[in-house]
């Protein structure tokens, strides 16, 4: 009997090939869309982590309360010792001290007189230490427009848009006018090594990137840093791990009286990022769910139509003496086989396309010009554990559910009614 049904299934293309194609396409889209949404939202979080928030960030309590003002007078002191402690406590995390600062960039003419001036947002990061991954995190090699990356102390990278406004070229000397952490005026000359275009107006408006030691020297912050940010070893932000880490750290450093005591905040605990992290978490689930339900309805319908089309065949089989429940069960088995094959094919193709998007990405930097949001200029998918089994919901369950619904008709109809449908 099984062979008989299998032969029917294989020979009747509208019963096998077409439903398998429909299931496979539906599952492929579901798997791909899930990976795409997960990747895109995850990349946006990673971009914010790389540029500003880290997966966790350590600051003094006072700095944390006024973080938006970049109050370097409230910066962490004795950071070398703190880094040693962090490395021993959280060995798998990559720690990076940073100094964020604001100031005025003065561009002198040939006589040394001010030619132009503009406000800059400065970032001091560890560019020149051999094992630092900061340049990689900020994707410097890819966003470099002119010149070269930092190779020696005293050099700076500025945003291309800003350089054009200020008529600055690589090799020019610029002066940072700011304030030290003690409140004194700070003047420091940098040689422009290159210009950058991040594709985000928030960064391209006036970014100045310098080596951490230069920033320390310019702002009188020896062995200090505004913040120390940490990146989890998985390479992606894991909210649960980050929250556990910050709880552990904060318990150890709980000192209500000392406003300069270090405090660790996970990315989701920093400003509006918490909202975005939960949005990313739930949006990805919601959007995937909507897609899964939509595909479920399509495949349900396909299963329904496929079964309704076969009422005639069921009429013959019932006339031959096959019991209704046997017809129904064989129908479900067929749907399971179709659903399983379609899901496997669809998942394979969905994963393939997701892998291509994950590996090669889709450059949308052209579309990002002038965007004020900090979003990735390359869209990438991300394959997660769910990508491997998510497709089974629409692929297998919906197909079987659709078939079951159609199969109920076999029970509801009088056998003679099925017969009439057979005759028409």
């Amino acid at each position: 009997m099984i062979r008989f049904l299998l032969k029917g299934l294989l020979r009747d293309k509208s019963r096998s090939r077409l439903p398998i194609i429909v299931v496979a396409i539906g599952v492929m889209l579901t798997v791909f869309m899930h990976a795409y949404i997960t990747g895109f939202m995850g990349d946006t979080i990673e971009m914010n982590a790389n540029f500003a928030n880290g997966h966790v960030k350590i600051m003094t309590k006072a700095y944390a309360e006024n973080m938006d003002q970049m109050p370097n007078d409230l910066a962490l002191m004795e950071t070398d010792q703190l880094l040693e402690e962090l490395t021993s406590q959280f060995g798998s995390v990559d720690w990076a001290p940073r100094i964020r600062f604001g100031g005025l960039l003065d561009v002198p003419d040939e006589q040394g007189e001010t030619r132009s001036q503009g406000p800059v947002f400065g970032l001091g990061l560890n560019f020149l230490s051999g094992d630092s991954r900061e340049a990689e995190r900020l994707n410097i090699d890819h966003v470099l427009v002119r010149g070269q990356r930092l190779t020696q102390p005293g050099e700076a990278l500025i945003s291309e848009l800003f350089s054009q406004k200020m008529h600055i070229n690589p090799g020019d000397t610029v002066t940072l006018i700011g304030s030290t952490m003690n409140g004194s005026m700070a003047f420091y000359n940098f040689t422009v090594a290159g210009t950058l275009s991040f594709g985000s107006e928030a960064l391209d408006r006036g970014a100045l990137l310098v080596d951490l030691e230069d920033a320390r020297f310019a702002l009188d912050m020896q062995d200090a840093a505004g913040e120390i940010i940490g990146f989890q070893s998985e390479g992606y932000y894991n909210d649960a791990t980050a929250l556990a880490m910050s709880e552990r750290f904060n318990q150890k450093h709980a000192n209500a009286d000392d406003e300069f005591a270090p405090v660790m905040k996970s990315l989701s605990q920093q400003g509006s990022m918490g909202l975005y992290v939960s949005m990313a978490k739930y949006w990805s689930v919601y959007i995937s769910l909507i897609f899964v339900l939509t595909m479920g309805l399509v495949l349900w319908n396909a299963g329904l139509l496929g079964s309704l089309r076969r009422y005639g065949e069921f009429g013959v089989r019932l006339a031959m003496g096959e019991a209704k429940d046997h017809v129904f069960i064989t129908l479900i088995y067929e749907a399971m086989a179709i659903g399983m094959i379609g899901t496997i094919i669809g998942t394979a193709f969905g994963l393939l396309f997701a892998w291509l998007l994950q590996t090669y990405g889709l450059n949308i930097s052209g579309m990002m010009e002038g965007a004020s949001l900090m979003m990735p200029s390359t869209i990438r998918a991300r394959i997660t554990a769910e990508s491997y089994y998510l497709g089974f919901i629409p692929g297998l369950l919906s197909t079987v559910a659709g078939t079951m619904l159609a199969g109920i008709g076999i029970y509801r109809r009088q056998t003679s009614q099925l017969f009439k449908e057979l005759e028409t």
Binding site: G8, R11, M320, G321, K324, S416
Partner: protein, 230 residues
């Protein structure tokens, strides 16, 4: 005395129609014995197909009784009705109703699969049935490649392969030309004589009527005439 194959007493069948009911059969009393070659004759709406469906356990009477091979159709559960059809009844339809994706061999084999015969038994029985209808040269063909007459012969082989006690044929020649109709009817007549299978037709085709040994004329859900051909 031999028990009748079919015994119908005061059979009434009503169908819901709008807010009321439509009575398709209005008190039928009939008996059929083993080996009969009989037909229910009448125009459309006379109730012949309804009666054939009840005898075939595809439908149940509203009131009255239909005993088929000792089984009271009205009392049978769906499973018992399926068992009766599986073991004892064969059906031949107007439009053949062969499974288009299966070969002639597989179509004829299907009723035997339901009866759990072994592969060797099935092969022997299928080839024998195809020999009765003269189609042993077409065993690997599929229905769409066959003529109408050949399709109906396959349908006869499928109905006869398990050697049922009763074969019910609803307008078996309606889609066939005269030559093919006579060929089919001769085949069924031969099988009726050789295997002692009871054949009951529902028809208004003169060609079929000409072969019948018992003619039951139905009119408006009642038996109008019951004639035996000498």
């Amino acid at each position: 005395m031999e028990k009748p194959v079919i015994s119908i007493r005061h059979l009434v069948k009503k169908f819901p129609a709008g807010k009321g009911e439509f009575t398709a059969l209005k008190g039928i009393d009939l008996e059929f014995n083993t080996g009969e070659f009989a037909g229910l004759i009448g125009p459309s709406g006379s109730g012949k197909t309804t009666l054939l469906n009840i005898i075939g356990s595809l439908d149940a009477p509203s009131t009255g009784e239909a005993l088929v091979l000792g089984n009271s159709i009205g009392q049978l559960s769906a499973k018992e009705a399926a068992r009766l059809r599986k073991h004892s009844l064969g059906f031949i339809f107007q439009s053949y109703n062969l499974l288009a994706v299966h070969t002639v061999y597989e179509n004829v084999e299907f009723p035997l699969l339901l009866l759990d015969y072994s592969a060797s038994e099935r092969k022997k029985m299928v080839l024998e049935a195809l020999e009765w209808v003269g189609l042993t040269n077409k065993i690997d063909s599929r229905p769409p490649k066959l003529s109408g007459g050949e399709c109906q012969r396959v349908a006869i082989a499928r109905a006869m392969v398990k050697k049922p006690s009763l074969v019910l044929a609803d307008e078996p020649t309606a889609n066939l030309d005269a030559d093919n109709s006579h060929h089919i009817l001769k085949t069924m007549e031969t099988l009726n004589r050789e295997l002692k299978t009871t054949f009951l037709f529902a028809t208004h085709d003169e060609k079929v009527i000409g072969y019948l040994r018992r003619k039951i004329f139905l009119k408006d859900g009642r038996v109008d005439k019951d004639e035996w051909v000498k």
